[in-house]
Amino acid sequence: MYLLLANPEAGGRRFQKVKNQLLKTLERLKVKFELVELPNLIDAQEMMKKHIKTDTTGIVAVGGNATVNTVINALADESIPMGIIPVGKTNYLAHSLGIKGWRAACGILAAPARREQRLGKIGKHYFVDRLEILCSQNLLAKYLRREGPLKRFLGSTKVAPRQLPCVHTEIKLDDDLKVESSLQKLAVVLNNEKGGKKLCLELVTDGPKNPTRLWADEIAIEGDKKMPVLMGNEEVAHTPVEIKGMTKYIELLVPQTSKPRRPERRLLKKFKKR
């Protein structure tokens, strides 16, 4: 039986809109579950421990990025697999695992495959998959680069810089290496393979054709400006930060055909789309 931890506030109360359909779909697929709504994500761990039973086969995060991050942190010290039903506006982990919408997620819970994903730690927070650090804090400049009503309304593109803004950043890797550069974007991707370094650091300095990729177990990042650290689109910290790759793994319920995506390609693809 799955324990569904749902965030009723996720994605502008999107869960409330699909709740009946979602429960019916799970029943139709003969998925056994217990639904617990989390009015407050801070209490997720307590609620989980309160409702967990001997026949609980998995904990399922129903919501967006915030719900997923909360459940990952609650589950980090447990040995129960985690599933995801994305109903929020964005769910980076569901996207990364190839879970396309809540209907597909219900199907996965009926016949899941399992995959071990390495856990990382940033401050007190656990994370899986990846973290991103954006050097761009000027949201207006960010939106002006895109075609849209705001750009049409302002009528001029001269105010928008062609290049992404850069921040001079210093990074220490395992006390062995010191990296200095003006960065546009930075991603820390967890290496799920056992053996080897636990973290892959991808830096973008001036576009996709000039990447930097380095490996480490621990990374300390410091910039001239305070830069947000994002898990999905959820801001979890600011620079300066220390990020560690853990030896712990979390088991995720994934589609049968789900293949881990190559971390090094993803960041580059995003830039090519622009």
């Binding site: 890797l173 062995d176 290496l177 010191k178 990296v179 200095e180 550069s181 003006s182 080897g196 830096l203 300095t205 001036d206 054709k209 000039n210 990447p211 930097t212 990729r213 380095l214 490996w215 090094e264």
Partner: protein, 146 residues
């Protein structure tokens, strides 16, 4: 300019890349390929290949399987197999390898030492036939006493 192996696009997915505009200092030790297009200072150790790109500046000793140099290297290179200094490459240090090639325009300021592989090479038979010269009759010695 013709693309060489040291161009980024031609080097198929190296594990570690240092991009242009990035400065790295310290000891970089890895089991995979390394591509350097930025600046590196310290020590480079890998079980695979090191590619120093055209705009790269490396101030380090390099230990690798193969080393391909299109940029500047100040330090010794020790390659288990091969060192290639390409036309824009410049090495200011001693190199040790089983094979060394320097393209026209490439610069090596230092000594080169080849790994001793001669002893391991199997002896091969000559492919041409050796014709033995007919033995000349030895002149008869005059043994008669005069």
């Amino acid at each position: 300019m013709a693309k060489t192996r040291a161009d980024f696009a031609d080097f198929n997915n190296p594990d570690t890349i240092i991009g242009r505009g990035v400065k790295v200092e310290g000891t970089l030790q890895t089991a995979g390929d390394i591509q350097i297009n930025g600046e590196f200072k310290g020590k480079l150790i890998t079980e695979k290949d090191v590619v120093v790109g055209e705009h790269a500046v490396v101030d380090a000793d390099i230990n690798a399987q193969n080393a391909y140099v299109s940029g500047e290297v100040k330090g010794d290179i020790n390659a288990f197999e091969k060192i290639e200094i390409l036309e824009t490459g410049k090495v200011d240090g001693n190199v040790t390898a089983s094979a060394l090639s320097i393209e026209s325009g490439g610069i090596l300021k230092g000594t080169s030492t080849m790994h001793e592989v001669e002893a391991e090479r199997p002896e091969t038979e000559p492919t041409y036939e050796v014709q033995e010269a007919p033995a000349e009759e030895a002149p008869e010695q005059d043994t008669s006493a005069g």
